[in-house]
Amino acid sequence: MLVEGIKSRPVYMGLSIQPRARRHIFALEGEGAHALLDRKAALDSTALSRSEILYAPRGSQGKGNDEALRALGADMFFAAPTIATLLFRLRGTLTTAHMGTRLYIAGTEGFIGQAMIVALDHGMDHASVITEHRGSLARRVQCVHCKGVTEDVTHSPFPCGHCGLPLLVRDHYSRRLGAFQGVNIDAEEPGSAPDPEELFL
């Protein structure tokens, strides 16, 4: 069960390399590595000499994506053990960045949302950040009741990882939180929640 057709649901347009950018920063997670690797043709030596690639392999660990990314020969490459480490590094990079820097984010929606929060914190306009969804459809969902965020949600309804209420996942998205909104589905009649459906694999 899913509530669709809500305007705030993000749209990911795909990584298009901006030829006039003075600096390219790629924040990639898991299968998001392929979003960049597939566009090797658009990366000439000038673009690569202006590029910084940050990669967190997560579920794609051991598939060799990090080696393939390193082999591109960008100005800087950093493999992060966790998303938190990658975001910390991204913060450092953006703090000293100048206008003319473009940010590209690819990976799962949860990752895109969290990296986007860092971009917004640095005054970037969300529409100027270039994104591509790769990998699992699992969502990052905030419980509107206890405000806890549950990662990698694949079912709706699902039990909130914090307060345990059965939550219906809506397409209602918060850019500030980088998460979809989950609303208690059986508030009037506790115990009457429908069976969970696997929607976001």
Partner: protein, 321 residues
């Protein structure tokens, strides 16, 4: 009435500011406070020129939180269609006039970490109100202001004295000083928004350099008030009101339609806001789109036209009005 209700005001002060530039202060006839506005907003001033109604848009330059009056600065343009000549030659202190409620099509992006303002000539006016607001809110900003010569540059000394040399830079054409646009664009911290207002050449140049320096279009803002260009006279049929309107050489479609007693929608009267967008019922000829609102596809489709600045050449034009 289209354009919202107007506010009856008295001209309480007319101040010469620089060569061909005067400042006008408007206070309400009923003594009540003016509505608050935000930096970058403009009003439409209605002028009764011997029974002929003229309406021009002027940026508000008084402090946005000061409701005692509105102030505008008017440049007497060389090829005036009548509006700026009227303001300079006919308007005296004590006169009664009407102004619209404020409209803002040049709103600063308050999420920005820094605001880079680029003004050319009389394009300084919206920035004067904006800077008041930036400084009150503690926002970081910098003004780069190009003038032709010292006697034509309005408010140069005042602004430098008020905000300091580190925030206000003056570039004088006559002294061979130009705004180093490319260098400025390359040295701005991430999260900077750029705003440009002034002659078309300056706006086009700055926006183009911005994109060439890798700036996203979301961070580049401009305001240009186009005035309706003269052209060949033509006639239009208004399908709903059943009237035929003749548009003269120096007149805009909107002005001609208003003179014919038809209440057409409008807001900025300068091809920017989109309010006067009108459906074309029939077009046997060529629409001359002069606005910056419609997309290129919409202009090519020939199904819509902006009454305030666009014209027509050909046999017949029917509008859904």
């Amino acid at each position: 009435m289209s354009g919202g209700t107007e506010i009856p005001v008295r001209v309480t002060k007319v101040t010469p500011v620089a060569h061909r530039i005067k400042r006008f202060r408007f206070e309400r006839l009923d003594g009540r406070p003016m509505p608050y506005f935000s930096g970058g907003a403009h009003v439409i001033v209605s002028m009764n020129d011997n029974g002929h109604l003229r309406r021009n848009a002027y940026s508000l330059m008084s402090p946005p939180y000061d409701c005692s009056a509105y102030e505008i600065s008017v440049l007497h343009v060389d090829d005036s269609r009548g509006g700026s000549s009227f303001m300079h030659e006919k308007v005296r202190e004590g006169d009664e006039m009407r102004v619209s409620h404020p409209v803002n099509l040049f709103q600063p992006d308050w999420r920005g970490r820094k605001h880079l303002l680029i003004a050319g000539g009389i394009g300084i006016t919206p920035f004067i109100a904006m800077m008041e607001q930036f400084s009150r809110e503690g926002a970081q900003f910098e003004l780069h202001y190009a003038i032709r010569s010292r006697d034509r540059g309005a408010y140069c000394e005042d602004l430098v004295a008020h905000y300091g040399r580190h925030r206000v830079k003056i570039y004088c054409d006559a002294e061979d000083n130009r705004i180093p646009v490319a260098r400025l664009l390359d040295s701005q911290p991430l999260g900077t928004h750029l705003y440009v207002c002034g002659p078309a050449g300056l706006i086009d140049g700055v926006l183009k350099s911005g994109l060439e320096s890798g700036w996203p279009e979301q961070n580049l803002h401009s305001e240009r008030f186009l005035s309706s260009q003269p052209g060949k006279p033509f006639s239009i049929e208004l399908t709903r009101s059943g009237k035929t309107v003749h548009v003269g050489h120096h007149e805009s479609m909107l002005e001609a339609i208003e003179s014919a007693g038809v209440d057409a929608p409008f807001l900025c009267r300068g091809g920017a806001c989109g309010q006067c967008e009108t459906r074309v019922a029939l077009c046997d000829g060529k629409l001359l789109h002069n606005d910056v609102y419609l997309t290129d596809e919409e202009k090519a489709s020939g199904r819509k036209v902006m009454l305030c600045v666009s014209r027509f050449e050909g046999k017949a034009l029917h509008l859904d009005l």
